[in-house]
Amino acid sequence: MNGAGFNWFIAQLRAMAALAWLNGVVAAMRAPLWIASYITPPLSILIILRFVSYGSAMSFGIVGGLAMIIVSNGLGLLSDAATYRLHFKFQDLMVAGPVSQWAYMLGLALSGLLFSAPGIAVFIALMGILGIHVYSAAEAAAAIAMLWAASAGMGFSLSLVFRDLKEVWSTTSILVFAISVLPPVYYPLTALPEWLRYVSLISPTASAAALLQESMGLIDLGIYTRIISLALLVAEAAVFFAVAALKKSS
């Protein structure tokens, strides 16, 4: 990278930080209830699991909750980015200038992460309270990071497709259900027939949840499934980010 390229890259990082501050920190200060809205659905499922399983499925509930918070946040970008593009025209205002589309997207994604950080902290605290150990912190961290990247990339790239906000809102809630409740997120991957396990791994939540479940010693994935899960997460994050960064809104 030459000097001009390096300066441009640093400028894009500043742009990301400015957007994350505006859309994350400032927004959270003005409307703190939004933060709670990310925690309530996974917490509800956790409470139901506690009573239905008499506490035996709490570890899976914690993993599912973590995955659901991250994916809700990533797919929340679909709503935020589409509203900013279609209603406020804020995306055009920002990217018709020195801010690149990928810096704009990552800035919005980071601002969403700020919103979900308290929820993630609550679930990590619950892990401590419930005595759930993480045996491979690196595997868990990689799963969380890649799930965030894949879902944020998916959210932003889908936001460029829609032309009507009503479709966006309905699609977001259907997608959150389809990829954070249906696949093995709140239950073990090994509960599925073997052929379905690999199909389910296409969902980034299932791949991430499988890695998280293994990092906590809840299931044994085996080396091939572990590699496939991680590779799928990385590939999905890369593809969605590339689409989001390159696609023009018209």
């Binding site: 400028a11 742009a15 505006l22 804020f90 020195p98 810096a103």
Partner: protein, 310 residues
């Protein structure tokens, strides 16, 4: 010095086959306020989006400040800013926070962004509302907050797509003053508007488009001179009136009105002649940009009598 805008054969066809721009050729050599006029669907916003590097042309070439918008898109973006059509600021920040975040995102330091944020908010009259969030501001103030962001950027060329639409006359005029200040600073503004008096009051150069084609471009005087008349007389269309006044000049029908275009003397003679029909004084007015626009974009139908009379 490079042309501010140089468009050669610019064409944009959307995937559904809609031809938004067709072989648009013009150049604007000097900085100042350049106004792009056209009816709804004329291609104004498509042109602005291509110029702002948000959309790709199908064919042809567009240079902004001497740089091709496709080949040198990143370099173009360093020197432009856009206030999109029907845009609104996010509702939760305060105006100062919006401007600061925008400037920092464009590469300004925090200190400079703060200083410039304060200066521009004072300039546009938003400083006293600095403690309010955007959601608490009126529609005019929200537009000013967006305008403040774009003006503060220091961009050499600003695209303002209908910045005064829906504003009350006072707010519109205060935005005019802000734009005139920017012009005095030597910056270029490409403005789109449907308000002809706005275009007439502000423009150094005017570009008129219709159905994706360039109709004409140049300064306001030249375009108005193209009408071929200096004065006009507008009356309600009653039976026989077109024949009555067509001997004084060219007549056109705009809906339920008949308009005579002529020189001052002939128009005043026609007015004197028609007083008995209309029972009152008829006013002869100077021809303006709105007349040129309507005539050039086919908004008026020449009456048969007017064509024959002329």
């Amino acid at each position: 010095m490079d042309a501010v805008i140089l468009s050669s054969g610019l064409t944009k066809i959307y995937p559904d086959g809609t031809v938004a721009l067709r072989d648009v050729d013009f150049s604007v050599e000097r900085r100042g306020i350049i106004t792009l006029l056209g009816r709804n669907g004329a291609g104004k916003t498509t042109f602005v989006r291509i110029a702002a590097t948000l959309s790709m042309p199908t064919s042809g070439r567009l240079e902004i400040l001497g740089m091709d918008v496709v080949e040198r898109a990143r370099a173009v973006r360093q020197r432009i800013a856009l206030m999109p059509q029907e845009s609104y600021p996010p509702t939760f920040p305060r105006p100062g926070e919006l401007v600061e975040a925008y400037l920092i995102a464009r590469g300004w330091s925090l200190g400079d962004a703060r200083r410039e944020g304060r200066r521009i908010l004072e300039d546009v009259g938003l400083w006293e509302y600095r403690g309010k969030t955007v959601s608490e501001l009126s529609g005019g103030m929200k537009r000013k907050a967006l305008l403040a962001m774009v003006l503060a950027s220091g961009a050499e060329l600003m695209f303002l797509d209908e910045p005064t639409v829906g504003l009350d006359p006072q707010s519109r005029r205060s935005i005019w003053r802000i734009l005139e200040d920017a012009r005095r600073e030597g910056r270029a503004i490409l403005l789109t508007t449907h308000y002809m008096e706005e275009a007439e009051a502000l423009s150094d150069d005017v570009i008129i488009m219709d159905r994706g084609r360039l109709v004409t471009s140049g300064d306001v005087q030249r375009i108005v001179a193209g009408v071929g008349a200096t004065h006009k007389l507008e009356v309600a269309d009653v039976p026989g009136i077109a024949e009555e006044i067509s001997r004084y000049g060219r007549t056109y029908r705009y809906g339920s009105r008949i308009v005579l275009y002529s020189d001052r003397k002939s128009a005043e003679e026609a007015a004197a002649q028609l007083v008995r029909i209309y029972n009152g004084t008829l006013r002869v007015r100077e021809v303006g940009l709105e007349d040129a626009f309507i005539l050039l974009t086919g908004g008026a139908e020449a009456t048969e009598e007017g064509v024959m009379g002329h």
